[in-house]
């Protein structure tokens, strides 16, 4: 059948600069470039290009750029080229469209409508280079009232288990299988260096990463891959994954060909079999079932570590979150609809869920309305793009954020959204040994550490500007936010005033 699908990208090669060194050819797992000795030039198979930009970065002479395929659309704003191409693909394959990373559609990004405050005259801003500026947070559940013996300065009852983050940011769940071991290792190393946590995702904890277990949050998801007492016992915290922002209501499917020996051992499933995560947990059909699982895990680990529950931001997320808190979750994780994924049905990714900003604001307020906000920790996830997003998230009410796409971008990800092909040229979303090798965890960890250091400096600058020297005082401090370009309802949900008010 003739393929009606058009190329999406086009390789622009500056002939004057191309030295035919072949670096591009060797860099491309999609086999786009080819040094044609006969023609004496480098040719490109544009249709195979996914715009990962590896070749652009690798080219020693900056001879390359990727551009859009210049095909005009039909002229209809309704039948856009992309819409029609999706139809062409499905007409060709009869399959569900798969895609990766986060929702790329132009839904409003509320972060960009929230502006931060700074001190002027009445209140000094604080210079983070001169004064201590605290970004440490603890996550876990707390008693509403702490019982202490003040004279002896001792706790009358121990504090429930907490995890300590030196920066209010953790790396979100990405399983070994969906990302390479080197990528996971880089995040583990960075987490150790930064004093924060990475999350194993639902793929188990690879034995090479056991040395990083104390900065791992291990996930228990519907497939229960890699879960055993050792896995639970090794971790710093446990996370029950109910849903994921990129694909609420959808399970996962890692095809058998990606279940290599290492993945198989880590997930504790036979090599070559499909790893299927059911859409729901089949032992959680209601909130009381969640409570059972939470306490099963706490029992299994002797109440020694916090248990987080992660849900996708969906319409009634506030009520769900309240239920989770009451079901014993120590940490509530809300994953907004722009959160990334290794693979998701495109229609789900692009159309299901709600923005994290609104979800976070609603959850925080609901927990406060129910007087339980200060007894649980709240983590926001789903496309935290910068330090300013972190500051906004915390000001809206989060204790900390989960961040994955940004660290992946630090590792080299160019958001080509082709993770599911397994041919990631950056060595991130692949298990192919030659590609995995491209990601030296040492460099990768350094880059992530640099990024987070940079962000931390910025967070400190922003906090200092607000006259705040501890992140505790930023949490839920919505007065530090002002909205622009938002309607009354949005302001109400976000709980912020309009700029100028």
């Amino acid at each position: 059948m003739l393929d009606y699908v058009l190329p999406r990208y086009r390789v622009m090669r500056d002939k004057d600069l191309c030295i035919q060194c072949g670096v591009c050819e060797r860099s491309c797992s999609n086999e786009v470039h080819h040094v044609d000795e006969e023609l004496g030039r480098v040719t490109a198979n544009n249709a195979a290009c996914v715009n990962c930009q590896r070749c652009v970065v690798m080219c020693p002479t900056q001879a390359l750029a990727i551009t859009r395929w210049p095909q005009v659309d039909s002229g209809s704003s309704n039948w856009t080229l992309e819409t029609m191409q999706d139809i062409a693909k499905q007409a060709q394959t009869g399959a569900v469209l798969l895609s990766s990373m986060g929702n790329p559609k132009p839904y409003p990004i509320y972060w960009d409508h929230l502006l931060l405050n700074a001190s002027q005259v009445t209140n000094p801003s604080i210079d983070p280079l001169r004064e201590p500026m605290e970004t440490r947070v603890f996550l876990g559940s707390r008693p509403e009232i702490l019982k202490v013996n003040e004279r002896d300065e001792k706790l009358s009852a121990p504090l429930p288990p907490q995890i300590r983050l030196d920066v209010p940011l953790m790396f979100s769940a990405m399983s070994f299988g969906s990302i390479s071991l080197n990528a996971q290792k880089a995040l583990a190393m960075a987490a150790r260096e930064l004093g924060t946590f990475f999350n194993t995702g639902e793929g188990g904890l690879h034995r090479d990463l056991e040395r990083y277990a104390d900065c791992a949050i291990v996930q228990v998801a519907s497939g229960r891959f890699g879960v055993d007492p050792h896995y639970l016992g090794a971790a710093g915290a446990i996370e029950i994954k109910i849903g994921q922002g990129a694909k609420p209501g959808i399970g996962g499917h890692l095809p058998g060909e990606k279940i290599s020996e290492e993945v198989s051992r880590t997930r504790m499933i036979p090599q070559g079999t499909d790893a299927i995560s059911p859409a729901p947990h089949h032992d959680i059909y209601s909130i009381e079932d969640l409570r059972q699982l939470v306490f099963s895990l706490k029992e299994a680990t002797g109440y020694s570590k916090p248990v987080a529950v992660k849900v996708a931001a969906v319409h009634n997320v506030a009520a769900i979150a309240s239920g989770m808190a009451r079901a014993g979750a120590d940490i509530i994780v809300i994953d907004g609809f722009r959160g990334g994924t290794g693979a998701a049905p495109k229609r789900i990714r692009d159309n299901v869920g709600i923005p994290i900003e609104l979800a976070l604001a609603a959850v925080d307020q609901r927990l406060r309305d129910e007087s339980i906000r200060s007894t649980v920790s709240l983590v926001a996830a789903g496309s935290i793009r910068s330090s300013a997003d972190i500051v906004r998230a915390i000001a809206l009410g989060a204790d900390a954020v989960y961040c994955a796409s940004a660290p992946l971008i630090a590792l080299g990800c160019h958001q080509c959204q082709d993770c599911s092909s397994g041919k990631c040229n950056w060595g991130i979303a692949t298990q192919r040994s030659d590609l995995v090798r491209r990601l030296n965890p040492e460099i990768a960890a350094e880059r992530v550490v640099n990024l987070v250091h940079g962000w931390t400096h910025e967070i400190k600058e922003m906090m200092g500007g607000m006259g705040i020297n501890a992140v505790d005082s930023l949490r839920g401090n919505r007065l530090m936010l002002r909205g622009v370009g938002l309607n009354e309802k949005e302001l109400e949900i976000l709980g912020v005033k309009y700029a100028g008010e």
């Binding site: 060194c21 690798m58 040994s433 491209r438 460099i443």
Partner: protein, 154 residues
Amino acid sequence: MKRIYALEEWCIDCKRCEVACKVFHSKSKDPVKAFLYEQPKPRNRVRVEGNRTLSIAINCRHCPTAKCVEGCISGAMTRNPETGVVTSNPEKCVGCRTCVSMCPFGAVTIEEGPTHPIAFKCDLCGDELGVPGSPSCVAACPNRALIYVESEGN
């Protein structure tokens, strides 16, 4: 001395090291000129062996008792006693290939020189023979598969 070590675990067969080496050892130091216009063609002294599944960059180990120096009939190949850097003097080299037959790593090649074929090998990107510079291959490696570190021997 500081040596370049290649780490095959991270070598990705991109050969940017070769490109960088060639460019550094060109007259113009410009990749486009070096590759397309200069005559004689600049030569890379680092060489990537293997393919995508397994590869490693090979360059001179700057051996303490360098076989190539021992074998050199012309006095072109020398090891600087202070720096430990082994270099071949293009003025003196006659291209006899004794060094090629002696080097246990295949790190010396005989290629066309200004007047006749001569030996080419890693000079650690020094500006003058025997004085190490900052190796271009190491700088160009995108994956730290080449590292330039103080070694535990001279």
